[in-house]
Amino acid sequence: MFNPSAKLKVDPRDAKLAMAHFFVAFTALAIGGLAGLLQTLVRSGKFELPAGIGYYQILTVHGVVLGLVLTTFFIMGFQLAATSKTSGTFTNKQRITGWIGFWLMTAGTVLAAVMILLNEATVLYTFYAPLQAHALYYIGLTLVIVGSWIDGAAIIMKYAEWRRKNPGQPSPLLTFMSLVNTMMWIVATIGVASTVLFQLLPWSLGFVETVNIGVSRTLFWYFGHPLVYFWLLPAYMAWYVVIPKVIGGKIFSDSLARLSFILFLLFSIPVGFHHQLMEPGIDPAWKFLQVILTFLVVIPSLMTAFSLFATFENFGRSKGATGLFGWVKKLPWGDARFVVPFIGMVAFIPAGAGGIVNASHQMNQVVHNTIWVTGHFHLTVATSVVLTFFGVSYWLIPHLTGRTLTKAMNKLGIIQAVIWSIGMTFMSGAMHAVGLLGAPRRSSYSEYGGAPQAAEWIPYQVAQAIGGSILFIGIILMIYIFINLAFFAPKGEQEFPVGEAADEAEKAPMVFENWKLWLGITVVLILFAYTIPFIDLIQNAPPGAKGYKLW
């Protein structure tokens, strides 16, 4: 698409804002990765934490720091850079908005981290009321979320400005995608913000004595599932728009890419009950309705898979590939910017299949809260998404710091991804297998009083520790590459690859930019899926639950 505002390089002032996000993100990776390693070691039964540190404290660190901090900071940094690159440099006002968002998120992170370290908040990132954390923990996480809204406001303002200046034109694809993900995030986080501000915070401060558990959990999971799409969509941005340019091909279809993002906006949110299938207090018919809505994201997922492989095949054939799979050989297997996210794409095939099992109304009963689920999201977020983020970092960090990805770092990037895959095969594979035998998730090492069933689980837990140790080597390598690209790589120009559509001549339909329509449908779907069961949870509520501090 013709786009006069696209810049060759992200403006240094915007680059600084994006880099600030990445420094926090990679610090989180180091801390959270170490916590993960310790967990797998403890659970092998061969290692105990020193100095009275609790397993569940480490688990809270791991979840908060990787699930919320690494992801949110990386995604916001990436989206800000992508918007600046494709829609033009931020105005001072927009950039200051971004900085305010960044500092609020950072302050919130520090506050929450201090409370976790003081052992005042060992409630995991899912909160689990009526376990009651220190009020400052809830305030910290609220700041992270409010900060991300303000960060997102910078993207929304830039988008609005671009549309004003280019009437009748579809917005640049990367800006469009950043905007969709930001809006989805804002609509979704209203749920978690509501339970924290109106339920957990007043309760932890002692203003109210009890809390409605059903309502709190429902509001949390209203946010908890779109959260995973908030992680996934930036990876899709890289897959749809960046990868085609990296390999030298074209985006299969600009319009279909937009359509799939709109479908994710619609079907990511009204689906939280599939995390609550085993819970009392919710009528099974409403659970089933949300199961159906959950499965509708299969459609944009299939569209994405088709587009990616069509891009690969078209590119290979344009290079003279023949036969059914001849094009595979033409792909740039020596380029970390392609290979690393590609491994992520491949991991998404078993990851997606596992997700179908989890969301299935009845099959969930076999795997709910077993470590199978942990194995599942270590394939989705901790492999597909994270490897894509690493692959993005290999060009984005040097682009922003005015450096280049050297051959040596490129090679190290590929080695990193291979190590990651091996480690994850051990860890996630063992988690899936032992989860089917019934081993619970979020649990420290236990022999359960010598029960024979629990004894069968231990070899798998040793395999998880082996996988976890290999993954930790991967994390050390990644941190090393990040530091190199941020501070030591040779100065130069590193390209920000933005693909062009194969259907260049065909303008994307303007209906995709009609936010009254799409946000309207989003709200209607949410009201449809949630209103009646939510009223039920309030009207038929049992007496509220008092707070407990059981750690």
Binding site: P130, L131, P280, V298, H361, P440, D503, N540, L550
Partner: protein, 158 residues
């Protein structure tokens, strides 16, 4: 906006499979009655010990119901009452459980019995024990520092 004919075929196949899949789930849920545990009954979490049937946890023979026994559990940090129970082989049992404090899990490892216990709510599941042996019940939802010690046992005996 046009769609490549291969993509159309791919999506028709994909969406068609999805419909078949959802129909199978739906028939299983609404026609065969395989619904996830979704009991709507509530209880005062402060008065569990004095509320029927939780005042007498354990196995009880019942008459005139669709099941032969009721097996009542009370969960609290970090144990289940009863800690061990013997169930006759082949018995159709309704498990009825609740919690006195925080959220707990109730999972009979290696079976399909898996439900959340939340303060104020009662959870139920009907099942037939058609295999003898010893089954481990574990708490599979984080409930505090002793979470991984929280367990119980079901012995299915001839």
């Amino acid at each position: 906006m046009h769609m490549h004919k291969f993509e159309k075929a791919w999506l028709i196949f994909g969406i068609g499979s999805l419909l078949v899949f959802l129909t199978v789930l739906g028939v299983s849920a609404f026609y065969l009655g395989n619904q996830p545990p979704s009991c709507l009954a509530t209880i005062d979490p402060e008065k569990v010990d004095t509320t029927v049937p939780f005042n007498e946890p354990g196995l009880k023979k019942v008459e005139g119901k669709d099941w032969d026994y009721e097996l009542v559990y009370v969960a609290s940090a970090f144990s289940y009452s009863p800690a061990e129970v013997e169930v006759p082989y082949g018995a159709k049992v309704k498990i009825i459980a609740t919690t006195k404090d925080v959220v707990h899990g109730f999972e009979v490892a290696g079976s399909n019995i898996n439900m959340m216990l939340e303060p104020g709510y009662i959870s139920e599941h009907v099942t037939t024990f058609d295999k003898t042996g010893e089954y481990l019940i574990v708490c599979n939802e984080y409930c505090g520092v002793g979470h991984h010690m929280m367990s119980s046992k079901i012995k299915v005996v001839e």
